[in-house]
């Protein structure tokens, strides 16, 4: 074999390997889509989300998840939120999931959001079963969302859920500061079938935990 032939014989497998590496790299760095908060007025933004009992897709139909509504009103399956710095964020979360109890009841109470309302009524503690919480530990924010009753008339089974199904509406506001990235999560052990209930959706980005990108 000539040198040229051998060189080609070496380069072709290398090129294939490189292709595999590049593909894997892009497979690894994929994120759920980022949903930007819609601006209400200067320095005030809105985020609308819902929590569902089963996202019903993929190989794990039993997983719970958050969904976020983007500016065009479409429910996106993501937990990557983006808000401007030094602004007031109005969160509205429709809670369609049934509830269980927390591993640590301290998060039964509303923390860091004094104006939180449940179905329009202000509340600071929920003692009954909890569907999910929206918690940003670094901001000291934690809001529990009551689970819908087990005997609900028409529970939502397939995400995204229309508001016609039984649900609770939780609203609250919090303030952001400088540009950074916060992680947020749910503290209800709703990863059914996983030790301590914190596997599966609880430890999978895009389901029960995500990031809040604060951009300047």
């Amino acid at each position: 074999m000539t040198k040229a032939q051998k060189t080609i014989g070496v380069l072709i497998p290398l090129a294939l390997l490189l292709a595999v590496v590049v593909w894997t790299f892009f497979y690894l760095i994929r994120w759920p889509p980022t949903v930007e908060a819609s601006t209400r007025s200067a320095g005030v933004v809105d985020i609308t989300a819902q929590t569902v009992g089963s996202i019903g897709t993929g190989n794990h139909p039993t997983w719970v998840s958050y969904l976020v509504r983007d500016s065009s009103g479409v429910w996106v399956h993501t937990t990557t939120l983006q808000v401007p710095a030094n602004s007031t964020v109005h969160m509205t979360i429709y809670q369609f999931d049934s509830g269980s109890s927390l591993r640590n009841p301290v998060m039964n109470q509303v923390l860091g959001a004094p104006d939180a309302t449940l179905d329009g009524k202000p509340y600071s503690l929920w003692t009954d079963t909890i569907g999910h919480t929206f918690t940003i530990p670094e901001l000291g924010l934690s809001v529990p969302m009551p689970g819908i009753s087990a005997t609900a008339a028409n529970p939502c089974s397939v995400a995204p859920c229309a508001l016609s199904y039984d649900h609770h509406t939780v609203q609250f506001t919090f303030k952001t500061f400088g540009a950074t990235v916060y992680t947020w999560q749910c503290f209800v052990p709703c990863g059914l079938g996983y030790l301590a209930g914190f596997g599966g959706p609880m430890s999978t980005f895009g389901y029960m935990n995500g990031v809040l990108k604060v951009v300047a």
């Binding site: 927390l102 591993r103 640590n104 918690t135 030790l195 301590a196 209930g197 430890s203």
Partner: protein, 311 residues
């Protein structure tokens, strides 16, 4: 070294030069490490443990300096002077197969260093400060006022609870209130009781020099005295899942009076949730596996998630 083939003065010549270079460098650098670098070594001097760790770091670095210097000086010297002059030189070196004195001396010296380090480390460990940080549920070396029996224990108790993925803190002396921020009074002997509700975490209060694994079903005790006000960073030092990296928080050391006002505020803030909390206990075993175990056959019966005190 004395193989008949080599005149011993050649040996002496090289040996003196190496030793002189090494000695000079050591005499310059070792004091620098101890006196200049030492006081600035991490993790600082905010707490007694931190001071211990800083002191240990300093001493170990000081001992290490001459050792490292000797090897480096020797390797450098060999590179320069024990190298064959030109590529055509096919000659072999002197056939030295060993030198009893040198071998015994070397092994003896390392043994002495190692043993003294061990004695030093043990002294620091059994010292009054309990520098061992995470010392299990029945620490051997404890500060004055400690007692294994809760009601005889005079120390200021803080319980650190790890959960995926945040820290919470309970103050048994104050109705067992559970807070999301760690605030401790300055100058008081604190006893941290670390435990976990799910997987293994590790409570690392960097400036306090405290690191204790939070293990489910285990009460891992660590002691510290914060000696001046300020903030300290709290991180999880044991991989505990995807958000391990975000499992951090900022603790505060304040004056005892400021602490009292703070804790009073916490009692108001968390007042209504206190009744929901399980009674204060060294460990909590939430009777729930998230349905991991076949409910029909699970000896723990139906899924009760509220933490209940360990039997």
């Amino acid at each position: 070294m004395s193989p008949a083939s080599s005149p011993s003065n050649v040996n002496r010549f090289h040996l003196t030069r190496i030793l002189v270079v090494w000695l000079v460098l050591s005499l310059i650098l070792t004091p620098l490490v101890y006196f200049v670098w030492g006081p600035n070594m991490p993790p600082g001097d905010m707490a007694n443990n931190a001071k211990d760790q800083q002191f240990d770091n300093t001493v170990l670095s000081t001992v290490a300096t001459p050792v490292v210097l000797f090897i480096w000086v020797y390797l450098g010297y060999a590179l320069i002077f024990f190298r064959r002059k030109d590529a055509s030189d096919e000659e072999d070196g002197p056939p030295i197969k060993g030198h009893l004195g040198f071998q015994v001396g070397w092994v003896g010296l390392t043994t002495v260093i190692v043993l003294s380090l061990f004695v030093f480390g043990t002294y620091e460990l059994v010292g009054p400060n309990g520098a061992g940080t995470g010392s299990g549920s029945s620490p051997i070396w404890t500060p004055a006022g400690y007692s294994g029996v809760a009601k005889y224990n005079k120390l200021f108790q803080v319980q650190v609870i790890g959960q995926q993925w945040r820290w919470t803190f309970r103050y048994p002396a104050y109705q067992g209130v559970e807070t999301t921020q760690l605030v401790i009074p300055e100058g008081v002997q604190i006893q941290f009781n670390t435990t976990s509700l799910d997987v293994i975490h590790s409570f690392w209060a960097y400036e306090l020099g405290v690191k204790a694994d939070a293990v489910p079903g285990v009460n891992n005790i660590a002691f510290a005295v914060a000696e001046r006000p300020g903030t300290f960073q709290i991180r999880c030092a044991e991989l505990c899942g995807p958000l391990h990296g975000a499992m951090s928080s900022v603790g505060v050391v304040v004056s005892p009076t400021a602490f009292n006002t703070w804790i009073a505020g916490q009692l108001v803030l968390h007042g209504e949730v206190i009744p929901l909390l399980p009674p204060y206990a060294p460990t909590y075993l939430p009777q729930s596996d998230g349905g991991l175990y076949d409910p029909g056959q699970d000896p723990l019966g139906p899924d009760l998630t509220l933490p209940s005190p360990a039997p």
